[in-house]
């Protein structure tokens, strides 16, 4: 039998070991890098296009214009791709049979789930923050010569919008992962995730009650990433609370499935 290092003796495997393994797993398949590439490049391209279309107008055009919000518009692509990354963290294991190797090595299922969520959540959060700050810088570069209202990070609401938008990308990574844990199949998980982000608000706008404003992507676009408060949408604070609640609910669902249903 292998002799453990003295420090490791009498202990049992824990979250630290599981997280380390999950990190190694995540970055040792090519699809992770592709998904991250699409997340970053897609977001920056859309932000470039969107801010360019808003550049070089007359002073009057910028009445009530929200340059921060305009710069974050690429996040729609990032939001989609980061959810796919999250979903793949589970579905790639269930799809390939790796799940049996992994669960034999880390048989406590909640610990296994938690490690995956910690790793993918941390990666998504880091990518999200890098992205939102990059979008902010990109927006400044594109809109710099246009007569836009002042929008430095020290202006009220700007930093909150930038940091907050990055945070939602982190939470979307968790949502994608939890949906993947619950559904197990890549196509199904991505389908549900896309429906939640894009289809649900489309459906709800056709219905009375303006319920679309409570859906995740609308919360990001019109509440959290907005510095200029827009009519008919929830406040940033309410948006954050709702977003967190959605994440917790979906993660709990994933946890129930992972612990109750055998691989």
């Amino acid at each position: 039998m292998i002799s453990a290092t003295p420090a490791a003796r009498n202990r049992r495997y824990g979250l630290r070991q599981a997280c380390r393994a999950e990190r190694a797993k995540l970055f040792s398949i090519r699809s992770t890098w592709w998904t991250l590439f699409v997340t970053v490049v897609g977001t920056l391209v859309v932000t470039t296009l969107s801010t360019s279309s808003a550049a070089h107008h007359g002073r009057g055009w910028y009445q009530g214009f929200d340059p921060t919000n305009q710069s974050m518009s690429g996040l729609a692509i990032g939001a989609l791709a980061i959810g796919v990354l999250g979903a793949l963290v589970f579905t790639s294991e269930y799809g390939s049979g790796t799940i049996r190797s992994s669960m034999a090595a880390t048989p406590r299922r909640l610990r296994f789930l938690l490690a995956k969520l910690i790793v993918v959540g941390a990666v998504a959060l880091a990518v999200g923050e890098v992205l939102t700050f990059s979008c902010f810088a990109l927006g400044h570069a594109v809109l710099g010569s246009s007569p836009v209202p002042s929008w430095s990070l020290t202006d009220p609401g700007v930093l909150r919008a930038v940091v907050g938008s990055g945070l939602t990308i982190g939470l979307l990574g968790l949502m994608g992962a939890a949906i993947g844990a619950a559904v197990r199949r890549t196509a199904g998980a991505i389908g549900i995730y896309v429906a939640l982000l894009f289809l649900l608000p489309l459906l709800l706008t056709k219905m009375p009650g303006n319920l679309a404003r409570f859906t995740p992507l609308i919360i990001i676009a019109n509440s959290i990433a907005a510095v200029v408060r827009q009519q008919g949408f929830v406040s940033p604070a309410v948006g954050f609370v709702l977003f967190a609640c959605y994440t917790v609910a979906i993660v709990l669902l994933g946890a129930v499935v992972v612990t109750r249903r055998d691989p």
């Binding site: 039998m1 292998i2 453990a4 290092t5 490791a8 202990r11 049992r12 495997y13 070991q17 599981a18 380390r20 393994a21 999950e22 190694a24 797993k25 040792s28 398949i29 090519r30 699809s31 790639s92 294991e93 390939s96 049979g97 790796t98 049996r100 190797s101 992994s102 669960m103 034999a104 090595a105 880390t106 048989p107 406590r108 055998d262 691989p263």
Partner: protein, 319 residues
């Protein structure tokens, strides 16, 4: 030594289908224990339950006295090859073993060592999806041995291996047992088990049929016989019956004699002045014994339910 697998009244139902039914057995260290049964008899499900991957409907499966999920360092106590494809096709062999090593604080040097042991060093940085079934099995075996565990489970380890690979696995299993480890290996190939295993746990339709040694299993079920070819079958059969032996006519017109040694048969032939062309002692094969036992199990079940009988005969055909 206390490294054992202990299965007690284990039952697993999928809907109204019973995959494993009230199964109890122990696996002891130092020998290879074969887990024998036709395809679909519940071997894999039982192993999955021992590994904590399937939750039993009732009963318990303990490893080293604990349910698998409560082991402190699972990979250092139990190694398993349950599925030839239990890795991600896009991940390299090295990275697969590396993440497994991380889960249980196994030193990374052990990964390189095992890649050498299973002969995958040259393809360590190739994506495992490009591997043949045999190479996949080798990677799975490396994963099982990673934590240097005292208990090892192998589910159909020789599937997809070439003759050289089969011999390598056979020697590996026997070597691991000789080191005092507990080795539990499933197979639907009776001949393979005859060569590899010392003890046998035989199941059919999810229920225990036999828990014995390979030697006792063949001796008890079927037993030895003496094959005789004679031009005068009628007189010979009459003589054997008078001497208290049992006869069975084979399709090729030879006669199988049971209950008498070959010496006794020879003496009988001499005293009766019979002409005999051939007299051969026949050792019952493990296969015959197995067929006989599973047939009994099928007949027993057919009394209760027609459906079981139909499914049972189908399962027997797969052998």
């Amino acid at each position: 030594m206390s490294s054992v697998i202990s299965v007690h009244s284990l039952t697993k139902q999928f809907g109204d289908q019973t995959a494993v039914s009230d199964l109890s057995f122990e696996v002891v260290p130092g020998v290879v224990t074969g887990f024998l049964g036709p395809n679909g008899s519940g071997k894999s499900t039982t192993m999955q339950m021992i590994m904590g991957l399937d939750t039993p409907t009732s009963g318990t499966a303990l490893v080293n006295g604990k349910p698998y999920r409560e082991l402190s360092w699972p990979l250092r106590e139990v190694g398993a090859l349950l599925d030839a494809k239990a890795f991600h096709p896009a991940r390299t062999a090295y990275n697969h073993l590396r993440y497994l090593a991380y889960t249980n604080d196994v030193p990374l040097a052990r990964v390189d060592e095992l890649l050498g042991t299973v002969g995958l060093t040259d393809v360590a940085n190739k994506r495992a999806g490009k591997f043949s079934l045999g190479m996949g099995q080798r990677l799975g075996i490396a994963g099982a041995l990673l934590g240097d565990p005292g208990v090892l489970l192998f589910d159909e380890p020789v599937n997809g291996l070439d003759p050289e690979g089969i011999r390598w696995v056979r020697n590996l299993l026997r070597g691991l047992a000789a080191e005092g480890r507990t080795v539990f290996v499933s197979s639907h190939l009776i001949s393979e088990m005859a060569l590899t295993a010392d003890r046998l746990v035989v199941i059919g339709r999810g229920a225990l049929i036999a828990d014995t040694t390979v030697r006792d299993f063949t001796a008890l079920n079927g037993g030895d016989a003496v094959r005789v070819v004679t031009p005068d079958v009628e007189s010979f059969v009459a003589a054997v019956r008078r001497a208290g032996g049992e006869v069975e006519l084979a399709p090729d017109d030879s006669v199988a004699v049971r209950g008498m040694t070959s010496a006794a048969v020879g003496e009988l032939i001499a005293s009766e002045r019979l002409i005999v062309h051939e007299l051969t002692p026949v050792r019952a094969s493990l296969e015959d014994a197995f067929m006989e036992l599973t047939r009994d199990a099928v007949e027993y079940r057919s009394g209760g339910s027609t459906e079981a009988a139909l499914v049972g005969s189908g399962g027997e055909g797969e052998l």
